[in-house]
Amino acid sequence: MFDLSGKRALVTGASGGIGSAIAKALAAQGATVALSGTRVGALEDVAKEISGQTHILPCNLSDLDAVERLVPQAEEVMGGVDILINNAGMTRDNIFMRMKDEEWDDVLKINLTAPFHLTRSAIKGMMKRRFGRVISISSVVGVVGNPGQANYAASKAGLAGMSKSLAYEVASRGITVNTIAPGFIGSAMTDELNEKQRETILQKVPAGRLGSAEEIAAATVFLASDGAGYITGHTLNVNGGMVMI
């Protein structure tokens, strides 16, 4: 039901915690995976942990020319892109009244504009093949907001709106477009939290623990699979019950 043999996936931000877990999980289901990111060494490390076929496609998502080339490169090395995972993202936190233009622009560019370009380029081949999966990693913050993250929240909410609109347009062509909204996930970033911060966060999470990157990857595999063919325009919340909507 969740077999991805013969499918070709492109994952952005593939050297990060969630991105690498997604790449490994897709490969474990049989997909060929193209790993994209800026740190080639880190991408190579992820590739080493994958027994299936992988390709490394370095790309700086703040360079729109490079962004436009990424999907064609992936199509060239794999013969097509059936599954696009818009995972790469960044934060540049500041309270709203102090937020700099660059802080706003940089976050929107990486988190929302780059996915728009990548998706627009990938959708063409998907339309021809009458199959496609576009999965964007959003955030619980895009659903409920977060002080200090107006730019990040806007970009993540934007992904959901973009995905829903596109989902309408291409549903009849066998293409589904969804987002996954992780809650607090254990990562290098959350490792830096002190005990008190950690406690404050966990008080909001009925599950009483942080999520794992593998749990986001599992949700991604599900949405990428044939089994999820009737799910589109959806935001899958993976947050331990932190927000139930």
Partner: protein, 78 residues
Amino acid sequence: MSDIADRVRKIVVEHLNVEAEKVTEKASFMDDLGADSLDQVELVMAFEEEFGVEIPDDAAESIQTFGDAVAFLSKATE
């Protein structure tokens, strides 16, 4: 010219599931042949593939009828 028209007609017939007789010079893909905007995009993609040409977005938007498509592709493949 007629060869191009035949190839274009074949794509339109297959893609929009219409009878070949309805695909006349002035037939509009959207108004007369039941295409929606996504069908229109797909037709252009199919033309690109069949004729090995690239059709830029602004040109694609000007291709509204069967005659437009034949004229554009005749020129593009000269």
